[in-house]
């Protein structure tokens, strides 16, 4: 029974991790930028949801849509005006740029919101008890919302002209240019999309995790692992990677003790990097 509960918890956690990793994966996979800003964007989204809830009484799932729009504009502007200039440089340069921007954004958030912890407090949601298993409602809803967002993005990428151009740019930017795809524009749109996904993740997580600028690093760490496990740029991969990570951490905490669940997830990361660098569902050559 305990094992079933642990597996269930792992699944729910996995959905949340997938949500954290989605935007990071798409930016890394397509634009080839390791976006250190990602964790801070998630925190920014969580603050957006927090203030929308506090001042306007909006449920985070409602606030998430307008926030996504703002996030898109922010990301697209950033790519067009700043990051574009170093796109041709080595990956270390873009890494350094986003690292610096992250320090800036993170300290601005500490300055504006202070580093005190806050949380969106929704009316008490008692966990559902089914056949001896407890099912936390807010986590369940967040997991469903996360899966919905990831699937919607997957459809966008696979079913629309815009999505096709994103995939084309990811496979071969030069060939895409020759076929008439505006690569610069696609990069900007993708970065905007990645940022919007991070902001949405923040809103979805705001009723679950305490909100503070200091949480940004742990989000970034999880996003990184989820991407490596699932495969870069692959949205179904993000879902798979998130769920594997959630299950491994839950089982690890249960069997080996809570101190080792992080050890286990980083061990898994190393193992994947060595043996299957393209991830669970990634394609070889795009790792």
């Amino acid at each position: 029974m305990a094992l079933a509960q642990v597996l269930l918890n792992g699944l729910l956690l996995g959905g949340i991790y997938a949500c954290i990793g989605a935007g990071f994966s798409i930016v890394w996979g397509v634009v080839n930028i390791i976006n250190i800003l990602h964790g801070s964007f998630i925190v920014l989204g969580a603050y957006g949801a927090f203030f929308a809830h506090q001042h306007l009484g909006l449920h985070p799932f409602m606030a998430m849509l307008p926030l996504a729009g703002l996030g898109y504009l922010l990301g697209q502007g950033l790519q067009r005006h700043l990051i574009r200039h170093v796109m041709a440089a080595k990956v270390l340069v873009t890494l350094t740029l986003t690292f610096g921007l992250n320090l800036l954004l993170n300290n601005l958030m500490i300055y504006a919101f202070s580093a005190d912890f806050r949380k969106v407090v929704l009316p008490n949601q008692e966990p559902l008890v089914l056949a001896g298993l407890t099912l936390p409602m807010d986590r369940l809803l967040s997991m469903l919302a996360a899966a919905g967002v990831v699937l919607a993005t997957h459809l966008l990428v696979t079913r629309t002209m815009l999505g096709r151009s994103i995939v084309a740019v990811r496979m071969d930017p030069q060939a895409a240019t020759l076929m008439g795809v505006d690569v610069d524009r696609t990069f900007a749109i993708t970065f905007g999309l990645g940022t919007a996904l991070a902001i949405v993740a923040g809103a979805i997580l705001s009723p679950i995790f305490p909100i503070s600028p200091t949480a940004a690093d742990s989000y970034l760490g999880k996003a990184f692992i989820v991407c490596v496990l699932g495969g870069l740029g692959s949205l179904p991969g993000v879902l798979a990677g998130g769920i594997v990570l959630g299950l491994v951490e839950s089982l690890g905490a249960f069997y080996l003790g809570p101190d080792h669940s992080l050890t286990l997830s980083f061990g898994l990361l190393l193992l994947f990097l060595l043996l299957r660098p393209q991830g669970l569902l990634g394609r070889k050559g795009f790792e």
């Binding site: 918890n9 956690l13 500490i110 949380k119 995790f209 999880k222 249960f254 809570p258 101190d259």
Partner: protein, 391 residues
């Protein structure tokens, strides 16, 4: 002629300048204003600032017959201990401060105490609770927090009064210096009272999920569940306890619940949680210090910052009160004389009575145990300052 007047004026203003400089007592405080510890750094700074402002409004510190104004000189060590040591050195040797208020926490305080000792500068350590900071034979450091076991003993005593003999205790601790030291003390306090330790594990710093852990804790069926960690940890654990359907007759969380974010972030789930902390705004002490009493201190803080002070704010102000009392008693700002008065101190303050043991660690007050009842903190121990009873 013109030149001579100018020179006279100039020297006059210089004289006035030096006279002014003499009347100022400068206190250096290396604090973590940015980085991971910035919330704590900001809290201490608020406390120091409130004290300095209050003293200056009253005319300054009385030294012999003159009043000297106070000036705080802050330096941001970015939550990086080696930098705190450098800055303490710079504050003493270049900025020529008269005294030092320590950085945050036991680790950085211990590191900085070597610098203040070498330069023979009185150092008031507001937030160091590890005995190891004070047993190095240093003469110039004075700590305002009682040792860690002074927090766990009253908690265990209350648990014994409440729970059946041989009750089952589960301890879940953050794998970090202070939280795991607290857990170790708690384990001792619990065993001493014949409790049965049914679960005792540590979780990693930065853990984002406790669901797997809590399934195990639930299976251990504890009567008393103790969780140590910082605000974000205990918020998350309390929330996930609900998710897991886990409850216990007595739930204790240290050190997070003393911050108002705890109750604000989890609402009704905070109900009934007990915790211990060195100082709480609902305590009722009267003092001979510049603030007069706990109530007046809380009112002054609320007026300046718009919120209730927590223990980190208060101990920041206490550092000032204690130094002030020592200078006034010594009648001079001379460091050695001030140090001797600190060692001999016996002062009632808004924070509680302050006297130091031979190592320079405070040993004169009992940290209050409090419980969240109806969304507010109620002190349930010690009886002398209690505002309610354990529910």
């Amino acid at each position: 002629m013109k030149l001579r007047i100018l020179t006279a004026l100039l020297s006059l203003s210089l004289l006035a300048g030096t006279a002014g400089a003499q009347a100022v007592i400068r206190i250096g405080a290396p604090l973590p204003m940015t980085g991971g510890l910035s919330p704590e750094g900001q809290r201490l700074k608020q406390g120091h600032d409130l004290w300095a402002e209050t003293v200056n409004k009253a005319g300054g510190i009385l030294v012999g017959r003159n009043r000297h104004k106070v000036e705080m000189v802050y330096a941001d060590y970015q939550s990086n201990t080696p930098r705190a040591v450098q800055l303490a050195d710079k504050l003493i040797t270049q900025d020529k401060v008269d005294y030092i208020f320590s950085p945050f926490g036991s680790g950085a305080t211990k590191a900085v105490s070597a610098v203040t000792e070498k330069n023979e500068v009185p150092n008031i350590a507001a937030t160091a609770s590890s005995v190891e900071v004070f047993n190095q034979g240093h003469k110039y450091i004075f700590g305002l927090f009682t040792p860690n076991d002074s927090l766990t003993e009253p908690l265990a005593e209350l648990a014994r009064a409440r729970l059946p003999a041989g009750a089952r205790v589960a301890v879940l601790a953050r794998n970090d210096l202070f939280p795991s030291a607290l857990a170790a003390e708690l384990e001792k306090s619990a065993r001493k009272r014949g409790f049965q330790l049914v679960y005792n594990e540590k979780y990693a710093i930065g853990a984002m999920d406790h669901s797997g852990t809590l399934v195990q804790v639930k299976a251990a069926r504890p009567d008393w569940l103790v969780v140590t960690g910082y605000t974000n940890d205990v918020i998350l654990v309390r929330k996930q306890m609900q998710d897991a359907g886990l409850s216990a007759a007595l739930v204790t969380m240290v050190i997070g619940p003393s911050y108002r974010e705890f109750t604000e972030s989890i609402g009704a789930l905070a109900e009934g949680v007990t915790s211990a902390v060195w100082w709480h705004p609902v305590a009722r002490y009267t003092g001979q210090d510049v603030f007069g009493s706990t109530e007046k201190y809380v009112a002054a803080f609320r007026q300046k910052y718009g919120t209730d002070p927590d223990y980190a704010n208060a101990v920041g102000s206490l550092a000032g009160s204690v130094l002030q009392a020592a200078i006034e008693k010594a009648g001079t700002t001379e460091r050695k004389a001030v140090r001797d008065q600190l060692a001999r101190m016996n002062l009632n303050t808004f924070f509680g009575p302050v006297a130091f043991d031979a190592n320079g660690m405070v040993n004169s007050y009992v940290p209050p145990v409090f419980q969240i009842q109806g969304g507010r903190s109620v002190v349930v121990y010690p009886a002398s300052i209690a505002t309610g009873t354990l529910k």
